[in-house]
Symmetry: C2
Subunit: 137 residues, 2 copies
């Protein structure tokens, strides 16, 4: 049972990050981490509902927030639609957005070189980049 093995592995990841690995949390993280690409909370709910006899949307939000807190996933708020997506890729990276197709793709750090030339008044903590355009994949 691959599923069982997954669950144990994920359970450990959660524990290590200080998140109590309840069944719901395992299911949510498993979906975000292994089975999806930048899902919204709504999508997470729909997916987890198939495993669970109805998880509540509040729990999905609680869990996603807890996972973000713990640094296990990242929340990406899109600069246009304003929708939040959750990203299991916690390494620093950028995003490409194809609004027409509703696509959100990860871009590797090495694909974008950024040179900041700011005065010392600006203490930079993070850089978000969203490239918008059309993807023909």
């Amino acid at each position: 049972m691959n599923d069982k093995k997954d669950q144990i592995a994920i359970s450990e990841i959660l524990s290590k990050a200080g998140v109590n690995p309840t069944a719901q949390r395992i299911a949510v993280f498993k979906y975000v981490h292994n089975e999806s690409d930048h899902p919204t909370p709504e999508q997470v709910k729909v997916a987890v509902d198939r495993v669970f006899p109805k998880i509540s949307l509040a729990t999905v939000y609680n869990t996603l927030n807890a996972l973000v807190e713990a640094g296990l996933v990242k929340a990406v708020k899109l600069p246009n639609s304003g929708k939040v997506c959750y990203d299991a890729n916690t390494a620093k990276h950028y995003h490409f957005i194809d609004e027409k197709q509703g696509l959100l793709l990860d871009l590797d750090l090495k694909d974008i070189k950024i040179d900041l030339n700011l005065s010392t008044q600006f203490e930079v903590k993070d850089v978000d980049v969203f490239i918008k355009g059309h993807y023909s994949g």
Copy 2:
């Protein structure tokens, strides 16, 4: 009266952009353009309320949308708070966000050099950059 002169000038700007310069629209654009820095719709309403006997919030939204349509202002949806701000600076530029202080500052193009190295599948239309950190001004 400087105010009157402003109004006429703004009226002309609106007309030229194909927006019928009604009193409400002039007041909204005047505030966004001359008297504020990245206001939210709510802030626009509060400000314009002082000039007008109560503009409706719907009109503020309609007007801001019309101004965006006409290319006279830009809407900036912040990648964290999700709030929309309106930006009278329609030239291409980037943003610095200090969440702690609730600051949103414009960054000039020349302050940030961006080198994209994407495969030809990516047809780039726009690049949004949000630098987050602390500003000590």
